[in-house]
Symmetry: C2
């Protein structure tokens, strides 16, 4: 890993990992939580979790979404897409948007929100022909496999007049290609850098001088800072899910014992949409 | 030059170059302009210029500044410093600011404005010991010569707790060093990239992943977009000049025939403050 430190505190060796999870209450000493309640909490990577009631948010069963949706499209990844596109990149109707890692849990939702909010064109990139096909099914106007040529050339072919917004999940040379394609006053929501996290030597972005003349804005964000927008997000996204306007994919792996492999597969792009580990039926 | 296209239209071979100039009206067919008037126009690089009256802005002789100031501290370079620091980097009192090419016409003013507006610490870098000494005279809290060690190490020594704002006139590894030093929610005003314009191979910035976790904003700008702020700038800067709160340097070269050398010297850092070519006494 390069000197990009994580914003999550390091895990302690010998302790169970943490992570978002949906579970059913099996026992509770708090009036607020009853056995059978569906809750969202952060003690994943284990089959039973013991935690203060205040750290388990009861989910509304009438919302009608499947429980795993609260980990994805209605949870942190959907919310990340929403905040990144609308607040960080300040997307406006009529603009051309490019999303990398677009078949992932964040990217696939970011692209669909852009279409629903009036994008002129939404372009996605992904790492397999199957993912590219899926993006077109989800309503992306154009999609390409970044293995099939340079990102720069394929982006130019998909958006010959350039792009206004880049939703960056990948970093490195994808970011450089987007900077080359951005039009004056374009914006980049810097959300993730999956190409860089485990890179032996990180890519250098060598065309940042373009940021000046094109008056670009590159902005990094972490969705945890934007809790004030969650209510609006949940309301709008719930509507889109009910109407079928937004569709989402999940890649499900069964059993806690397979969670490490699921995590490694995520880093290698083995998932379409949200990677879910199902602990029990 | 790399693929960073200039935002100024290319000059035509065989035609006189253009550039900001202060001159005296010697003849006028317009009621608005009388011989003897001091005017600012854009047909520099020549001793006599013929132009429409509307393109020659009459300068107020009562402002008391020397004419060349309208090319620098009261003109485009001072205005660039003002807009870049206050509007683009959204500098706030109490913050730590780093300015590169800080002995230049833009950087030296940006640093002084930061101090006047309440910066906790202002750090400048430059390319000679004389420039470093000058920065300390101008009120910078710390200054270093980027030849004397890595920018990253010297910046860390000057700002052990990090910086909030980077005013970037240099680009390349100076920008990378600033990204490493920026604190959460820090901002970069991307104003120039003097290290990159004539580089055979531009520097790659390899730590952009930090922009995400630190929630940084990098924003490029061109001062011409910000004309609406000029009146406020001129008013505030005129006051600072009258009171002596802002000081500015000029490097003056005599004679049009020496203008090409002056320009090349500018690119090599041969100037302190604004580079001025004096055409006549």
């Amino acid at each position: 890993m390069n000197d990009a430190k994580s914003y999550v505190p390091p895990f302690e060796v010998g302790r169970a990992l943490e992570g978002a999870a949906v579970g059913e209450v099996v026992a509770s000493g708090a009036d607020s939580h009853r056995p059978g309640d569906l809750v969202l909490h952060n003690l994943g990577w284990r089959e039973f979790a013991l935690l203060p009631a205040a750290q388990a948010r009861t989910l509304d069963p009438t919302a009608g979404a499947d429980p795993a949706a609260y980990l994805g499209v209605l949870g942190v990844t959907g919310f990340t897409a929403y905040v990144g596109l609308l607040d960080i990149a300040e997307f406006k109707a009529g603009e051309v948007v490019y999303v990398s890692a677009a078949a992932g849990a964040v990217g696939s939702i970011a692209g669909q929100i852009a279409k629903l909010r009036g994008a002129a064109t939404v372009i996605g990139s992904a790492g397999t022909p199957e993912k590219v096909a899926r993006l077109l099914e989800l309503g992306f106007d154009a999609a390409f496999d970044y293995h099939e040529g340079t990102v720069r050339d394929q982006l130019r072919a998909a958006a010959p007049d350039g792009i206004d917004v880049y939703f960056d999940n990948v970093g490195g040379h994808h970011l450089a290609a987007a900077i080359a394609a951005l039009r004056p006053f374009g914006r980049v929501a810097m959300c993730g850098a999956i190409s860089q996290y485990n890179a032996a030597a990180p890519d250098g972005v060598d065309n940042l001088t373009l940021v000046i003349g094109k008056r670009l804005t590159l902005r990094g964000f972490i969705v945890l800072d934007h809790g004030g927008r969650r209510k609006e997000f949940v309301s709008e996204m719930s509507g889109w899910l009910r109407s079928g306007a937004v569709r989402y994919d999940e890649t499900t792996v069964d059993g806690l014992e397979n969670a490490p492999d699921a995590f490694l597969s995520l880093l290698r792009g083995g998932n379409v949409g949200k990677m879910i580990v199902r602990l029990t039926d």
